[in-house]
Every structure is written in structure tokens, then in C-alpha cells.
């Protein structure tokens, strides 16, 4: 009985740990999205290596080549990559 309780104590935290998409996966999707939009807008970047969320649909993206962009949706509803 004690071992079963120990097993349960192990199982539930582990199941919770692995349930759902990890934040790292979401970050990877965001970085890919930011990389794609900067590329699409014709700005030199290469690859976005990190991003900092400022607000809804407003991120600061740091590129592999050292460039930093503020990627956001402006008042006209356009995606903009503004070099910082």
C-alpha cells in the first residue's frame, strides 16, 4: 500500500509536468513566426534567437546577425518590423 502511494506520488507530478505543450515549444513557434515575418518584410535578420513580449502582438526580436526589431501590429492592422 505504501509503495502504491509512492508510485502515485511520482506519477501525478510527472504527468502534470509532461501534459500539454511546453512553454519552450510555444517560444519556438513565436521565434519562427517572428523570423518569418521579418523575412517577409524584407528586413535582414537571418533568424530570431530571442524575443521579449511587450504587449499583445508587440515583441522585441533579437536576430542572429545582431539586429533588433520591434515587431508589432500598427493601427492600420499591418504587421510592422521596426528596426531598433
Amino acid at each position: 500500500m505504501i509503495t502504491r502511494a509512492r508510485a502515485s506520488a511520482l506519477i501525478f507530478p510527472l504527468a502534470t509536468l509532461f501534459a500539454g505543450p511546453s512553454p519552450a515549444a510555444e517560444d519556438a513557434a513565436l521565434l519562427k513566426d517572428l523570423t518569418s515575418v521579418i523575412m517577409l518584410l524584407g528586413k535582414p535578420c537571418g533568424q530570431v534567437v530571442s524575443a521579449k513580449r511587450q504587449a499583445e502582438n508587440d515583441h522585441i526580436a533579437s536576430c542572429k546577425n545582431g539586429n533588433r526589431y520591434r515587431v508589432f501590429v500598427n493601427a492600420e492592422g499591418r504587421a510592422v518590423a521596426q528596426k531598433l
Binding site: 511520482l10 506519477i11 510527472l14 515549444a25 519562427k32 515575418v37 499591418r78
Partner: protein
């Protein structure tokens, strides 16, 4: 004690197996997005002879009544058929020099069924498919929408001005945009990339024709 250890072992094994199945984006995907690399097989028929030789795409184009690219030359297949020796000899040739025989075999093989079944998209369907796909993120979708709308605006202005000759000047921006879209979706949504590639001439036919453009816009 032993059953408990076994249970814990099974649970750990199951968890490890579950984690092993999680797909991570390969680093090449991230690298490719910056370089705008496009799989040559996805390019339109006017980009290379290999694609123009596919009979299914030319059939699709005929259905769309666009038919800008020439259909696959029948003389090639005839000559290939004439040149093709009886089956026994052909197998000998394949084993002797595989690379030289591979090219005619590509022409003879029927393309996959998925390529035949995909009807060409129009502008609205293309927008809908891009909106629904999970291959690209929200920012990218928005930027793409902006660029598509900008291009449509240019077509609209051109058709209003009535200059038929300058429609050709929009062909390059159109091709660039299609290439960008293909580069974005080819890894994560290859079927959409194939459909867009196959619909390229049909969509251009709609955009370049003022009457068709006005009917869909």
C-alpha cells in the same frame, strides 16, 4: 515490493516513450526561413522543364482555361516509347546505368493521386487556405495578407487605368509573392504548397484578366 518497482518502471517507460514522440522543429527549418529557399519541385511550370513535363498539371491548367505553359511535348514520350526496348532489355539497362534511365521513367510514371485531385485555387480560396493553415504564425499571416492586398490593389488600379500592356509588369511581384508563400509553407504544409504551386498560372490568369478580376474582387 517487486510489483511496485515494476509498475514504476512501466510508468517511466511510458513517459519516456511519450516524450520521445514529441516533434521538435529541426534547426534547418529555422535556417531556411531566413534564406527564402524554395523546393524546386514546387515551382511553377514556367520555372523548369521537369515540372512542365508533368501531365497532371497541364491537364489542370487546361481545365482552368489558362494554359500559359506549353503542354508536355508528345514527341518526347513517343520517342521515349519508341526508344524503349522490350521489358526484358529495359531491366538490363536499368541495372547497368540507373541514372541515365531514371529520367525517362519519371515521365512515364503517373504522378501521385493527390496532385491530380487538387483543383486550382482562386484568390479567395487561396486566402482561406492560408488563413486556415497552421504552418505559419499570426504575424506572418497578417504580413502575407497585407502583401496580397497590396498586390490586389495594384491590379485594381491597373485595370481601372485600362493599360493592358502593363499588367505584365506585375508578373514579377506576383511571382515573388508566390515564392515567399511557398517558402513559408513548404516545410510545414507541403500539400498546400503543392496546391499553390499548381494554381499559380490559374490565379495569374484571373488577376491579369480585368473581367475575371472584377468578378472575383
Amino acid at each position: 515490493m517487486m510489483p511496485a518497482v515494476r509498475t514504476i518502471g512501466i510508468v517511466f517507460f511510458a513517459l519516456a516513450a511519450g516524450c520521445a514522440g514529441v516533434k521538435e522543429a529541426p534547426p534547418s527549418v529555422m535556417a531556411q526561413t531566413g534564406l527564402l529557399m524554395v523546393d524546386p519541385s514546387l515551382l511553377g511550370p514556367n520555372q523548369g522543364g521537369a515540372v512542365a513535363a508533368e501531365p497532371s498539371r497541364s491537364e489542370v491548367k487546361e481545365e482552368a482555361a489558362v494554359a500559359l505553359a506549353p503542354p508536355p511535348p508528345p514527341s518526347k514520350s513517343r520517342s521515349a516509347a519508341k526508344a524503349a526496348p522490350p521489358p526484358a532489355k529495359a531491366t538490363v539497362k536499368v541495372s547497368a546505368s540507373a541514372p541515365s534511365i531514371e529520367q525517362p521513367r519519371k515521365n512515364e510514371d503517373p504522378p501521385p493521386v493527390a496532385k491530380k485531385l487538387e483543383p486550382p485555387l482562386d484568390v479567395a480560396a487561396l486566402k482561406a487556405r492560408l488563413r486556415d493553415t497552421n504552418a505559419i504564425g499570426v504575424f506572418t499571416k497578417l504580413a502575407l495578407k497585407n502583401q496580397v492586398d497590396d498586390l490586389l490593389q495594384q491590379f485594381r488600379a491597373l485595370h481601372r487605368s485600362g493599360q493592358k500592356t502593363s499588367v505584365a509588369s506585375l508578373r514579377q511581384p506576383y511571382d515573388m509573392l508566390v515564392l515567399k508563400v511557398l517558402a513559408l509553407v513548404q516545410d510545414s504544409d507541403p500539400s498546400l504548397a503543392r496546391t499553390i504551386s499548381g494554381s499559380r498560372e490559374a490565379i495569374w490568369g484571373i488577376l491579369a484578366d480585368p473581367e475575371k478580376f472584377n468578378s472575383v474582387a
